[in-house]
């Protein structure tokens, strides 16, 4: 469904030329959950920005459902690393924003927003302003907004980085349930190998900048997955160890 063909991206900062992404080719199937893992600042976010159509690739092309992405891609819901909640709106009004944009009536908006706010564990905070919330709570509000938007593809940039362990598990569970329910395609960026293996059908490991795909691992764990207990199974452990070993080699090679 999402097809990246020899995609490269270079940024020009005054005289300095920065290669963010180099020659990535990648095909993501419908309903697939893909995790992208790699060192910080390696161009993972740039990759998501290009799929969302916010940046045009310097060379190569991105094809989404047979059409080349040349403008903002409104079929994706994008949860950026920085929470971009509107500071003058309450959490509820922020979460309901996509519904407001599509002209859903006020009463229905509030009901549906409250529902999804409860889903992400923010009940009781609907009337608060984003700056009154902690970083993790703001992330969850962003997640709620993206869920309510109900795009066919979800792009998530380190969605659960600021959350504590229990909450992280709850959000993992929620994400998997909703993705299964709605048949969403999910592409997410993470630093956390455990998270990547728990959630994804496929894990891509990126190299240091400029990002290329260093290795790719199918995660053939059966679904639905129990996010709490899947990590204690032997299959999980094997996959995790294998990936970790290859990651270690990859990083080790780079350091030399």
């Amino acid at each position: 469904m999402i097809d990246l063909r020899h995609v490269s991206k270079t940024f020009r900062k005054q005289d300095e030329i920065v290669d963010a992404v180099r020659d990535i080719s990648l095909t993501i199937a419908q309903k697939e959950i893909v995790a992208i893992i790699g060192p910080s600042g390696c161009g993972k976010s740039t990759l998501l920005n290009m799929i969302a159509g916010l940046y045009a690739p310097s060379s190569g092309s991105i094809v989404y459902k047979g059409a080349r992405v040349s403008n903002i891609n409104t079929d994706v819901g994008y949860m950026t690393q920085k929470d971009n909640l509107l500071p003058w709106r309450t959490v509820r009004d922020n979460v309901a924003f996509p519904l407001e944009l599509s002209g859903v009536a006020k009463g229905e908006r509030a009901v549906r927003a409250d529902q999804v706010i409860t889903h992400v564990g923010l009940d009781g905070f609907g009337h608060r302003y984003p700056q009154e919330l902690s970083g993790g709570m703001r992330k969850r509000a962003c997640l709620a907004r993206m869920l309510l938007y109900g795009a066919e593809t979800a792009l998530l940039d380190e969605p659960f980085a600021a959350l504590d362990a229990q909450l992280k598990l709850a959000m993992h569970d929620l994400l998997l349930k909703l993705a299964a329910e709605t048949g969403q395609t999910v592409v997410f960026v993470t630093h956390d190998l455990m998270e990547a293996v728990t959630l994804a059908d496929r894990v891509l490991v990126c190299t240091r900048r400029p990002a290329t795909v260093a290795l790719e691992q199918r995660i053939a764990l059966k679904r639905p997955r129990d996010v709490l207990n899947v990590r204690f199974t032997n299959e999980f452990k094997e996959l995790y160890d294998a990936l970790w070993e290859r990651l270690r080699v990859e990083y080790h090679e780079e350091r030399i």
Binding site: G77, N84, L86, P87, L101, Q131
Partner: protein, 276 residues
Amino acid sequence: MTAPDVDAAPGGLHDNAANAGPSPLGSGFMVICQVVLGAVLLLLWQGASGRLIDSFFISNPVEVGTRLFGWIADGSLFVHVWATVYATVMGFVIGSIIGVMLGIWLGVSPFTSRLLNPYMSALNALPKVALAPLFVLWFGLGIESKIALAAVLVLFLVFLNTYAGVREVDQDLIDGARLMRATRAQVITKVIIPSAMSWMFAGLKISVPYALIGAVLGEMIAANRGLGYLVQFSGSQFDSAGVFAVLIVIALLAVALNFLVEIVQHRMQQWRVVGR
């Protein structure tokens, strides 16, 4: 112990005594001092007039007061005050509406704003007062030319602030809204304008005194009523008491306008949420 802790401290009595600076008693005392200072200055003025300095130049408080009461008694003062207030308010309203619209329009149209940039800079650098003769030519001697002058002064201040505010809007917020299928109009009304709101208010606030300046200046150039006309007229009659009387009225008017702005701002802050 700092002042904000006082209400939290259970034994606040001697704490209060320790930092009695901003207590009601203190500010009451300050008001008394200020009134006394004013009275002393008036007495000095009265004493110096005619003895140290020719009263032709500085008049004296009694005469100024007499003049003021004379104008109040025959009602002529209110005609002039009303003309100035009307021109100020109308100029402010018209100037701010045009300024805000222009600021938003140029703020969201990079091509047009770059196209018009040198012309806007030139117009902004121009002392707007120099346009007064043109406005008299276009709008006549009546109140319209004063409104135009006040409006032009307000317009540029509000425009520049609004434009800066629109350019400051976080691009990520705009991108986020566009990804959620916001139309261009929705991006402007739901993201750009609310985000630039504090800049717009700052522009509106600083432009209020300029509306008054525009109105008074316009009246000084050519008019048959208004406080600007009255100060100009008194001056040309060598009536220094009259000039001082009008100056006092203009100062009071300016203070009242500022007070009004403070109140409005206070109200605004109750619902306005300042950005991150």
